[in-house]
């Protein structure tokens, strides 16, 4: 059994503890270790993705206990791809946080950052629903710390809302898990897949309630309308780099929906018919409208970007809710694109906030800011990507999604909404960009030129390097769309043929129990419990 697959979780856990305990007062050491750890994580994730690229499914049994009893980590194409995406995003965000000095504005940024990564990686890799809950909590509790990093009353208020909303989400998750366990007697995803498939359609009320509760929980995480209200103020008030890192958090929800509803409740399952085409798809389209109208209506640049996140999650949900291979392929392409574009936009917005000083992010014209040319250029590119205009990856993703919706009954609605909201998004981004960057020139012309510019310190280079990296990744995602799409098609094919995954998880033998007697039954229970405890103890 290879231990590599556990490392993306273990490495950040150890590193975070080390940073808190040993390097608490040494910012330089924290930075060095965090950077080194994140770099190692990128390499590790790349290795895992390479390993999974030929369709291999890697299984890791915690403490060597066989699957339905012990907790397993599973690395298939989808998991490792998401792990790689997280690691790469974390690298860019970390460079930005160090370059812009955000990590100095409060304590424990680096430790929380690593804990956050641990939770996200764990959520992507685990093969057990209760373990998924635990990792959700790990990533949430780290995100609470990051969200209020730097303090300030407005941020704390937004933080309170964010925490309360997620607390409610966690409670719902537990209700869903309890219902699932009561109906099936297991929480291992592969085992669940087998048992749910065996449930007859009469007497399936409990399992249907569990399925709906579960999708509700993931929808809260993914900010799908109508439960997206927590997102705008949380993301807008969070520090720039943290908001950029949060770009992956909504995708954790989307990932969980894709994973659970291709394996445990597959689309052809009779008892959950109607959940996706009747409910999820219209909600996705509504989310798209709400988000893009929010982009048009926002009065502040950070809220504008937050609403564009809701819009892009709506688009993603629309693609996911098709639950066809082409739909999931398009959705996965869009996941990568939207993560990178959102992160880039939040970082650019943070730079604008830094440079504009008092004016903040209100959409009004002020004096020209420093390095306005570079920033506005970056904003232009990222906004094009986000709004889905050619030539960048947003356009490719949108085409793929439009193409995938052909098979749906709601195809007319989907096309109308997707194309209509694109126009609204273009207008919204165009208005914001021209107010912030172009009208600045007019303001400058009317003012007397005695206002001297050089009083401001020169902007550091590293933040721009980080944003540049993200934009370069978006461009690469566009240029390599062909190969990436082929890979994602293979990923989605693997999702829709879950049998190898299930048999890998359930049929791999664990620890040899042949010479153990009665007492081992007790140990088994202790193990399942102990592993869960250990997770959360990290």
């Amino acid at each position: 059994m290879s231990h590599w697959i556990a490392l993306p979780i273990v490495l950040p856990a150890m590193l975070a503890a080390f940073i808190v305990l040993v390097a608490r007062f040494h910012l330089t050491i924290q930075r060095v270790f965090n950077l080194a750890g994140t770099t190692a994580l990128v390499a590790l994730a790349a290795g895992l993705a390479w390993n999974a690229s030929d369709g291999t499914i890697t299984l890791y049994q915690m403490g060597d206990w066989a699957a339905p009893f012990g907790i397993v980590l599973v690395g298939d194409r989808l998991s490792t791809m998401m792990v790689l995406l997280t690691a790469v995003l974390a690298m860019c965000v970390l460079l930005y946080a160090i370059g812009s000095g955000w990590d100095k504005r409060g304590q424990h940024f680096h430790a929380l950052f690593q804990f956050q990564l641990m939770g996200i990686m764990g959520a992507f890799l685990t093969g057990d629903l209760f373990n998924l809950f635990v990792f959700f909590e790990v990533l949430l509790i780290a995100s609470y710390g990051l969200m209020i990093h730097g303090g300030g009353t407005k941020r704390l208020k937004a933080g309170t809302q964010y925490v309360l909303y997620n607390l409610l989400g966690s409670t719902l998750f537990l209700f869903a898990l309890g219902a699932l366990y009561a109906e099936t007697g297991t929480l291992n995803m592969a085992d669940l897949a087998n048992r749910v498939a065996a449930i007859q359609s009469e007497g399936s009320a409990g399992i249907r309630v569990a399925a709906v509760l579960l999708i509700l929980v993931f929808a809260i995480k993914a900010a799908i309308a109508p439960i997206h209200f927590w997102l705008p103020s949380s993301y807008a008030e969070a520090p720039g780099p943290v908001a950029a890192l949060f770009a992956i958090m909504t995708k954790v929800g989307a990932y969980a929906i894709i994973r659970t509803y291709t394996m445990v409740f597959p689309p052809e399952l009779e008892i959950t018919q109607g959940l996706f085409d009747t409910w999820l798809m219209p909600l996705g389209l509504i989310g798209l409208v709400v988000g893009m109208v929010g982009v048009l209506g926002a009065k502040q640049l950070d809220r504008l970007v937050a609403f564009s996140v809701i819009g892009s999650m709506g688009m993603l949900t629309t693609a996911v809710s098709l639950f066809t291979e082409t739909g999931i392929t398009a959705a996965l392409y869009y996941v990568v694109h939207s993560t990178l574009a959102t992160a880039a936009l939040f970082l650019i917005v943070d730079q604008v906030r830094e440079q504009r000083g008092e004016a903040g992010l209100a959409l009004t014209a002020t004096k020209p800011i420093q390095s306005a040319a570079l920033l506005s250029g970056m904003f232009f590119v990222a906004a094009i990507a986000m709004a889905g205009l050619p030539p960048l990856s947003g356009f490719v993703g949108k085409l793929l999604i439009l193409n995938a919706t052909y098979s749906s009954e709601l195809v007319v609605w989907a096309w109308a909404v997707i194309l209509g909201t694109s126009l609204i998004a273009v207008v919204g981004f165009g208005r914001a960009g021209s107010t912030v960057f172009w009208k600045a020139r007019q303001v400058a012309d009317t003012e007397e030129p005695s206002e001297d510019v050089p009083e401001q310190p020169k902007a550091p280079v590293l933040p721009f390097v980080a944003i540049g990296m993200l934009i370069a990744l978006i461009v690469a995602h566009t240029v390599l769309a062909g190969p990436i799409n082929r890979y994602l098609a293979a990923t989605s094919a693997q999702l829709f043929a879950p049998q190898p995954y299930i048999s890998e998880v359930l049929e791999t033998p664990g620890k040899d129990l042949s010479n153990a007697h009665d007492k081992d039954y007790g140990d088994k229970k202790d193990d399942a419990h102990g592993v869960a405890d250990e997770k959360e103890g990290h």
């Binding site: 609470y144 209020i148 704390l156 309170t160 898990l177 309890g178």
Partner: protein, 112 residues
């Protein structure tokens, strides 16, 4: 006993939801606590209610399902920690703004 446990879960959830929809942080946090109590009992009951049996597989014919107990323990620890976090953050927000409404930031900031 089923009736007792079921009504306990129902009443706790109803009270918790009602309080969670209040506007001030204190009732909301109390509501959240009630909800977590409800979910803990729910999880505990999800393995089936068996009285007076050990939670291990043994030679005896009846036993209590041990897994929900392990789940509940984890859930209790997590919800306890989370409640502590939300109390601290809410206190910080209250002391800063001198206002404990959960609702969105003031209208005077002109945000949607």
């Amino acid at each position: 006993m089923e009736l007792l446990v079921a009504s306990a879960i129902g009443i706790l959830t109803a009270a918790g939801l009602y309080l969670a929809m209040r506007l001030r942080t204190f009732p909301v946090i109390i509501g959240m606590s009630l909800l977590t109590y409800a979910v803990n009992i729910f999880l505990f009951a999800s393995g089936g209610l068996t009285v007076g049996a050990p939670p291990i597989l043994s030679d005896a014919t009846t036993y209590t399902d041990p897994l929900p107990q392990a789940l509940v323990l984890t859930a209790i620890v997590i919800s306890f920690g989370m409640t502590a976090v939300v109390v601290v953050i809410a206190l910080g927000a209250y002391l800063g703004a001198n206002d404990d409404h959960v609702n969105d930031l003031d209208e005077k900031e002109g945000q949607a």
